[in-house]
Symmetry: C2
């Protein structure tokens, strides 16, 4: 039987970007679990500068896909999460220039939680691209103080997407370069 | 008994930033496991633009701490990992402007793997600060094509650092803002 550390590590190693979904919907309760995972991420000075738009409506997902050349998998996804930075969050001073790093940590937590729940998900970048961000801002009515960072199509994998072996020991330098 | 998804989610929820270490060293083999987790992260166009410096030498960790005002926990850490971007990695075209997002995903994977292994770790930002980055570059002899992104002190927790409850349902917007 595997111990806790083996199970967690295996989930990290097995996580793959899922771009092929079977079209079935994703329960609201599962999206909330993914968002609980997102908000458990660390953030600079614990500022938690994030906000999230969770989408299940087919028309909204199609409208998003129409204007995002690299996120066409939204057409078959069961849901989507847009991870945003909110510049009105408390604890403003310092760390403003790190909001996108905090949003990245939240995004990665969502991907790992999805893998654990046998859902599929894929990180699609919005920031720092003004064309992609502008399209998402329009469709979702984001106010000026909210910046979209990533969009994560979520759904049930067809099984076509497999994990990649990416470990390269030569990328590790010991003690100094 | 907990299922796989509960164990993985619990690890995400229980992960805390550990700043208080007992001073004991961390085995090289455990650092390699953390780096395997790091390299399992997703990256834009699967470019894997990262490189890592793993440090166990006491003198080097002290020298790093001396010039990093927010990373004094290195004095008691058992090891440290510096996550870098390497602009000479293959698959250059496109996605160059996303290397720091890939480095953030790798950093988050290290933190979650450390938590699973009962190690403690904390994300300390180097990018985009030229003073912090310059100090680390000097101490570690980083070449010009390598940019330090984060430094992660790793060690055995004293137990003082506890997880924070950060879930805020009001940060979730359904369907649109």
């Amino acid at each position: 039987m595997l111990g806790i550390s083996e199970i967690v590590l295996e989930n990290i190693f097995q996580r793959r970007s899922v771009r092929n979904f079977n079209g079935e919907t994703v329960d609201r309760s599962m999206l909330i679990t993914l968002l609980q995972a997102a908000m458990a991420a660390p953030s600079a000075r614990n500022r938690q500068p994030w906000a999230f738009v969770a989408i299940k409506d087919r028309k909204t997902m199609d409208a998003l896909a129409n204007g995002l050349p690299f996120t066409k998998m939204l057409y078959k996804a069961g849901a989507a999460i847009v991870v945003c930075g909110d510049s009105t969050t408390e604890l403003q001073e310092g760390a403003e220039d790190l909001w996108y790093q905090d949003a990245a940590a939240a995004t990665q937590n969502i991907l790992l939680a999805a893998q654990a729940m046998r859902l599929g998900a894929v990180w699609s970048a919005l920031y720092p691209y003004s064309d992609r961000s502008g399209h998402v801002r329009n469709i979702l009515d984001l106010p000026p103080h909210v910046s979209p960072f990533s969009i994560i199509p979520v759904g049930w994998p067809t099984g076509e997407d497999l994990p990649k072996e990416k470990y390269k020991p030569e990328r590790i330098h010991w003690e100094k370069w």
